[in-house]
């Protein structure tokens, strides 16, 4: 009787021990697996953090911290007239250097108001430059989204490599601006430029690299530090002006030009 009891007791004990061992093994397995995943999470997290620290602060994915060659100039055809286009410290200067009126336009390719303003008065700026009444400085700065920095860089690449296409590219960058383009990568800009007729390989490379993006950022700081408060902003002969529409702009420039003569 007691022997039988002992036997079954022993059996139970063994079964219990086995169960416990199995449970412990299961737990160990779970901890090992969780440990691997958590370890990988930490490692990957550190790698991502390093990537973020290493690449943020610069305005973009692209490496570009070059400066466009200020002073380089070319003759381009605007509204049927041959007009000098010159690369400046802050952007592109269009018009005869001895024109009586100087216009400074601060624009951000990513700013919706700039897009509207370009649609309203963009052609008037080209007209006054072509007519010889004004020299227009298109200053590229960037406040809203990275599209502005990438677009600004693309504009300068074109002004440098294929200046005859610059006016087309300049207005196309505004027309093209929208929700889905705000995070376009530089590859999309290169394809866009090719669609617009850019064929020069170095120009396309320049756009793909975002070569002048950092320059746009530096420009932005300089402009904001010197009294520009937003985009678009219009300065005529060094004084801030209202955002004139097409007709009033042409009229104002003609008046100033004839008064100056």
């Amino acid at each position: 009787m007691s022997a039988k009891n002992k036997k079954s007791e022993l059996r139970e004990k063994i079964a219990e021990q086995r169960e416990q061992a199995a449970k412990a093994a299961k737990r160990r397995k779970l901890f090992t697996q969780l440990g691997i995943v958590l370890g990988a999470l930490v490692v990957v997290g550190i790698i991502v953090a390093i990537v973020i620290v290493a690449t943020s602060g610069t305005p973009d994915d692209a490496s570009g911290d070059a400066t466009p060659p200020a002073g380089q100039s070319a003759m381009v055809t605007v509204a049927g007239v041959s007009v000098p286009l010159e690369i400046t410290e802050q952007g592109v200067k269009l018009g005869n250097a001895d024109a009586p009126v100087t216009i400074d336009l601060f624009e951000d390719f990513s700013c919706p108001h700039c897009k509207d303003y370009e649609a309203t008065a963009g052609s008037a700026f080209l007209q006054v430059a072509a007519e010889g009444d004004a020299v227009v400085n298109f200053n590229h700065i960037n406040i809203v989204t990275p599209y502005g920095a990438r677009g600004g860089s693309m504009s300068m690449c074109v002004a440098e490599g294929q200046p005859e296409l610059w006016t087309t590219v300049h207005s196309a960058l505004f027309t093209n601006q929208g929700q889905s383009t705000n995070t376009w990568r530089t590859g999309s800009f290169r394809d866009f430029a090719a669609q617009l007729g850019v064929t020069d390989q170095d120009t396309l490379d320049c756009i793909f690299e975002g070569r002048y993006m950092n320059w746009v950022a530096i420009n932005t700081e300089a402009a904001l530090g010197s009294g520009v408060t937003g985009t678009p902003s219009l300065w005529i002969n060094g004084e801030q002006a209202q955002l004139l529409d097409s007709a009033s702009l042409i009229q104002a420039v003609r008046q100033l030009a004839s008064a100056g003569e």
Binding site: K29, Q33, I36, V37, A40, L41, V44, I47, V48, V51, I52, S56, G57, T145, P146, Q179, S180, T181, N182, T183, W184, R185, G187, S188
Partner: protein, 220 residues
Amino acid sequence: MSETTSGSGVTAADESVGSIRRLAIAWAGFGAIALFASFMLTNDRIRLLQNPDVDLICDISPFVACGPVMESAAGALFGFPNPILGLVCFTIMVTSGMAILAGARFGNWYWIGMQLGLTFAGGFITWLQTQSLWVIGSLCLWCMVVWATTIPLVVLTTSFALANGQWFDRRRGSSWGRGFGRWMHEYRWVIIALWYLAVIAAIAATFYREFAFMWFGTVL
């Protein structure tokens, strides 16, 4: 002890590693989700063709947008939109899973075919991920659903088939393949988690600026 029997103990045909019912549920479940995503992609592609200005549900933010992805060259690698491939293949996944649940047993050649298809799928989504991240520069919601379901399908099916010698006669299954399969089966969720983690990390490293801008309004 029961799990680690190896070597000579391969006689019992029904002593399988893992449960084929669970695998079948995974096929049907993940397959159905991916099938739905493929359907949405195909449908959106047609709607986009009918009206290029249509507002698609999957165009969530500037960079989480399926339009650019669908219109890219990679979106139709074989000359027709990729989701058509998904519609056919994920239907096979669901049907096969349901068939097993209904009591069907598939021959070795069927498992080999399944494996070839899934291995191709795993490679294909990985290539599409690189395209989406670094060439197209947009994330596509339905595409990511397909990625997220294909990964467990590949891992779960491969580990089960290896561990149970589904590709060859059960008794002739190579022992190293089974050993590797058992190991893979044991760590299947870890493998899936690591694979997910790698993809998420690549997305984070590529798009952290956009996410920071979208969620926190900060420019990094």
